[in-house]
């Protein structure tokens, strides 16, 4: 990867430059709004009509984590309008395309296209970064070596291969993987492009915040009713944090704009390493969790950590449990009609279910309220995985069944002839 000394500084200006560089290669993804979700988010949890939320009783009011106290407590009543940045519709189905195109573009500029084409690039990943780097490399006709664990699912392997990447298998531990990467580098001279812990990746990921900021201003200029009355721009953005490349990029992009940036994390089995790390003022370097938000199982990286610990850049990190993530995932699909992966539902879950966050918004935004950007980071999941998360059983199964076979209007219309 590019020498750190040659990387541009981690400033908003550098993110603007990164955006100009990658714009021809990425989608300017849409920003969506949803009246029903705005209403739910602007209603205290205790007053929400179960019928306007999820259908499954057990999920209609995801249980509060104990620290939020009993249901009898005061429930926050923030007023918000939400703007969903649809990076699930980005190339390769996730924001990672931004960082990969930026990192490779910079590398080519520094070393020259002929050198980069001769040496190639390498990374270890079987997830979104693998496909993102494979796509960027294909675009610039650079060989890409992707080290993937043998246990990777066939669809991810073939997805990566479909961008002409050279897939090399390894064991799934860190040591096994790094040994294979070292071998590739020794043999080919390929440059390592890491998934998040590098300035050029961070600057690339930050570009989505610039688009979101501008798109919301444009939307509000045209249709003021979409936002908080009288406001012309975003007040805050919530983004997921795993390795932290995206969150630190967004912090960098929005620094100095007055738009507050928040991180959102799952808290299952300690996946909220960034939240916990901020509390103890020390980065947590190891995490072992099987949260359904599988893109956020990673501990935050070193360079992202240095950015998110700057209180001028990050306003706070909040976490949610698995049932809250599932409930938000359901709402994104059933109400906003957006197909997203569980990791992408985490910021919406924080907005809807984390009482600490909701109280902060109520307190800081006051009765006027906030326009809040919600990053939907990706949509790389399958209908089977969704089925697994929500599979019908018992009473729920019966109800789902009746929905499919006895839709009233339609049955009635059948016999109307």
């Amino acid at each position: 990867m590019s020498d750190l000394s040659k990387c541009p500084p981690l400033t908003r200006k550098s993110v603007l430059d990164a955006h100009k560089r990658i714009e021809p290669y990425i989608h300017r993804t849409q920003v969506a709004t949803c009246d029903t979700i705005n209403l739910l988010a602007s209603t205290p949890q205790s007053e929400r009509c179960p019928s306007s939320g999820p259908n499954t009783a057990s999920e209609s009011a995801p249980h509060e984590s104990t620290k939020n106290g009993s249901a009898a407590e005061y429930k926050a009543n923030p007023k918000v309008r939400l703007f969903f940045k649809c990076e699930n519709q980005q190339k390769i189905g996730a924001f990672k395309a931004r960082g990969a195109f930026h990192a490779l573009g910079r590398l080519i500029e520094e070393e020259g296209i002929e050198n980069v084409r001769r040496k190639g690039v390498v990374t270890h990943s079987s997830g979104n970064h693998a496909q993102a780097l494979a796509l960027a490399a294909k675009t610039f006709e650079v060989p890409a070596h992707i080290v993937m664990p043998t246990i990777s699912t066939p669809s991810k392997i073939s997805g990566t291969k479909s961008h002409n990447a050279h897939v090399i298998f390894s064991g799934s531990t860190s040591d096994e993987r790094e040994a294979v990467v070292a071998e590739v580098i020794e043999k080919t001279g390929a440059t390592l492009v890491p998934p998040y812990d590098h300035p050029n990746i961070i600057l690339g990921q930050g570009t989505q915040a610039l688009e979101l900021e501008q798109q919301v201003e444009d939307m509000l200029a045209e249709q003021p009713a979409l936002g908080i009355s009288g406001k012309t721009k975003l007040d805050a953005v919530i983004a997921p944090i795993g390795g932290g490349g995206m969150l630190s990029g967004i912090c960098t992009a929005l620094h100095g704009t007055g738009i507050k940036v928040f991180g959102a994390e799952p808290n299952f089995e300690g996946a909220n390493d960034a939240e916990l790390g901020l509390k103890q003022n020390k980065r947590i370097e190891k995490v072992k969790t099987l949260t359904i938000a599988d893109g956020l199982r990673t501990p935050v990286g070193d360079i992202p950590w240095n950015i998110i610990t700057d209180k001028e850049k990050l306003h706070g990190i909040y976490s949610v449990d698995e049932s809250q993530i599932k409930a938000a995932l359901r709402l994104a699909m059933e109400r906003a009609k957006l197909f997203i992966e569980p990791s992408a539902a985490v910021p919406l879950a924080v907005m809807l279910y984390n009482e600490d966050f909701r109280k902060l918004v109520e307190r800081e935004a006051g009765p006027e309220g906030w326009n809040i950007g919600i990053i939907l980071s990706g949509g790389n999941t399958t209908v089977e995985a969704i089925a697994k998360l929500f599979q019908a059983s018992g009473k729920v199964a019966e109800r789902a069944e009746s929905k499919i076979t006895t839709n009233g209007e339609r049955v009635a219309e059948n016999v109307a002839g």
Copy 2:
């Protein structure tokens, strides 16, 4: 409902008028594109790499209906670029809001707001039309009586009630339902707003075609690479057909533009009544099917029939089987990241899997190819219903499981620290 004699003529001009009338009340839904689906649609079925299609082997090549012959036959190779009109993101989650706002708006203009408010409106439905009329009525502060079968699912009932409609229960047969409607009319003087078989409904539903036509022209002007090289507009549109309100509205809207209109139907248990009716030159008045495309179980209505039998307005109707609908539904979700109901997947299924249609496109479009609009009619389904359609079992379950718990990149990153 408005007297037929007072309705505007079924012309493009009337659809343009309808659009002006309803524009303040509806969403101008986005038009989406998807490179992967374009590639699949532009590849002969026999040559498609299973890995770029669905993951489940049994669905990777939905079986051909017998009339399409054996796999050894010539497979069509049309060249197309698809433009998805996202009516799944319309108000109430389906295009039906258009017809309801138009029909009610016309009624108010004819009878005066005070009369309509005094008498109210009534319909029988527990599906999208129920919620659409309830929303339109709420907007104009008109009482709405919605007759719903007692067997309706609780979420649909509460969805309708959430728009302040007066819900009245009935049995689910045509006779029982009509008896209740008659009772409501006698008691309140309410006007019946039928779901599809009325000119004002048809004209309202047609408005989506005007938007799609204009949006595609705008998109191609800005980004010509999204479409067929050198073309600046749509060549064709494929829309689902159930009762036919939407398809006949689109036929009316696009008449005289040169844009060809096609209908798409499920063929399970005779749900392809319009296709069969066109062949025997006689409307089929009764259908009894439990196709998963539950919005399309209805036989085509009388007024829509008179429009779609006009060869200058409709170019043809093509049908697909259940496995083809499921495969298209999967692609819309996993690849285009759009959450849609099974009925909305039927036009895409025709594009991808109906060999007769694909041969027609290859023949008529030639090597140059066509820009084709695909109507995604609605997104009112639940994660449980999707789970039911695709629930993991056997080997598929294992693979889905491994996807959730052993994502290579993420597990590897976990231990990387």
